[in-house]
């Protein structure tokens, strides 16, 4: 279908975009890569009266490391830029991000889709949301009231909703510490589809031994979730098998046409074990 009519506004800077959003009110929406929003508008699932295009704000398209080794990703960085990492900023600690990109749709989606757009869209199985949750990312948002930082734990509110106010722009995502032993894996019906279930882990490895770690799942609830039950097994020195079983027992994924609750729990068991094995072998 064709989208409903709207007025198009091109933002010149972040503050101007935020002011415009505040002025235009509920009828306005930000557009970044458009890989979720345009599809929804073509379906008329979304009918904004105004679009504020932030695509030209090149200052939001960059990645850099800080003195502590943390990674800052501008909201407009595309999945494809992360995948190809032209400046090599992901070396030594963030290879997991590069590798995870190959799970997102296909090349022509990744050349346009942005990290910020993925996070803000907030799909329960989106790879970026899962990575943010497992790696304790922080979200830097700017609105007419100024800038604030939101931890990943408070950012995702479930089914396509986040902590961002309608007049706030997500400007940067910060991954505070390197994650050399992290991995993401998933199962989808076809290559490039959204995952049925996705699992990500970030292991603490010292002297060749796993001392603990973080475990997160996508596709089992309204948003990506951490699984403290599975993390406790890792801290207690339990096996990956035991960690995976604890994860499968801890969640109650909703059933739909693609799979029953039982089927998804079995996917959780397999995927958490695989993610752990991949992460430790890094």
């Amino acid at each position: 279908m064709k989208p409903a009519p709207f007025q198009y506004h091109r933002a010149r800077d972040v503050d101007g975009a935020a002011r415009l959003l505040a002025e235009l009110g509920d009828d306005a929406k930000v557009i970044a890569g458009g890989q979720s929003l345009v599809a929804m508008m073509n379906y008329r699932l979304a009918r904004p009266r105004h679009l504020v295009d932030i695509g030209g704000l090149r200052e939001l398209d960059r990645m850099h490391r800080d003195a502590a080794g943390g990674l800052h990703i501008g909201a407009l960085t595309t999945h494809h830029t992360v995948e190809t990492d032209p400046a090599g900023v992901l070396r030594a600690g963030f290879e997991v991000l590069k590798k995870a990109m190959t799970w997102i749709g296909h090349l022509p989606i990744r050349t346009r889709g942005t990290v910020g757009g993925s996070m803000t869209h907030g799909d329960a199985t989106a790879e970026w949301c899962l990575l943010a949750v497992v790696l304790d990312a922080e979200f830097v948002a700017r609105g007419p009231q100024g800038e604030r930082t939101i931890p990943a734990g408070d950012f995702f509110h479930g089914y396509y909703t986040t902590a961002l106010d309608p007049d706030e722009i997500l400007v940067e995502i910060v991954f505070p510490r390197p994650a050399p032993h992290a991995a993401l894996t998933e199962f989808a019906e076809r290559r490039g589809d959204f995952a049925l279930v996705a699992a990500a882990v970030d292991l603490d490895v010292a002297e060749g031994e796993v001392r603990g770690g973080r475990v997160a799942l996508g596709g089992v609830a309204a948003a990506a979730v951490r699984v403290p039950e599975a993390e406790a097994v890792l801290t207690g020195g339990g096996s990956f098998e035991a960690c995976a079983s604890a994860a499968a027992e801890a969640v109650e994924p909703p059933a739909d046409a693609s799979g029953s609750t039982h089927y998804r729990k079995e996917l959780v068991r397999t995927l958490v074990r695989r993610a752990c094995e991949e992460a430790v072998s890094r």
Binding site: P5, V38, T111
Partner: protein, 179 residues
């Protein structure tokens, strides 16, 4: 009286597009997607449109040399970029088919041809970025577009053959430079 259609109609907008090296001024509604402007306003009907939600890839064009879905982009978003459509492939515009197109013909990589412009632009963009692509990588990239006729095998073979030939030609040029 103001006769400027952009000034008098709030729902119309002037969009300047660089398509296949030519500048076009288009006065259109902001809700026009890039693929609709290419087909309806610029009459470049080589680019096809199927699903309009990013799944089929029939609308794939190059924006700044990268393959994108022209159905998931408003024309206004493409201002300031260089757009290339399937019409740009054949040498001297409409004459000789280029090597990629010839490879598609030779390997029977099309039947009805509906999907072909999308696959051609996908492959053109991908091979420019990864000239050394393996057959496995080509297979993976091709998964982004749908073809209901060929079963994909011949498409993979055509792209692989074109990539191999281009690498050969490139190696030859390097060698002749060394001598």
């Amino acid at each position: 009286m103001n006769t400027d259609p952009v000034a008098t109609h709030a729902d119309l907008q002037l969009v300047t597009l660089d398509v296949n090296g030519e500048q076009h001024d288009v006065i259109t509604e902001p809700r026009r997607t890039l693929v609709d402007v290419l087909r309806h306003e610029l009459r470049l009907t080589g680019t096809h449109v199927g699903c309009e939600h990013g799944i089929c890839g029939a609308c794939t064009v190059l924006v700044d040399e990268r393959p994108v879905r022209a159905c998931l982009m408003f024309a206004a978003q493409a201002e300031g970029t260089c757009i290339r459509t399937v019409e740009s492939l054949s040498e001297d515009g409409g004459g000789e088919l280029n090597d990629l197109q010839r490879a598609f013909t030779e390997h029977h990589a099309l039947q009805c041809g509906f999907c072909t412009p999308g696959f051609l632009m996908l492959a053109e963009g991908f091979l420019a970025e990864r000239p050394e692509a393996t057959k496995e990588e080509i297979r993976e990239v091709v998964a982004s577009n749908l073809c209901r006729c060929t079963g994909y095998q011949t498409i993979v073979e055509a792209i692989d053959a074109c990539a191999t030939a281009r690498r050969g030609a490139c190696a030859q040029r390097c060698e002749s430079k060394e001598h």
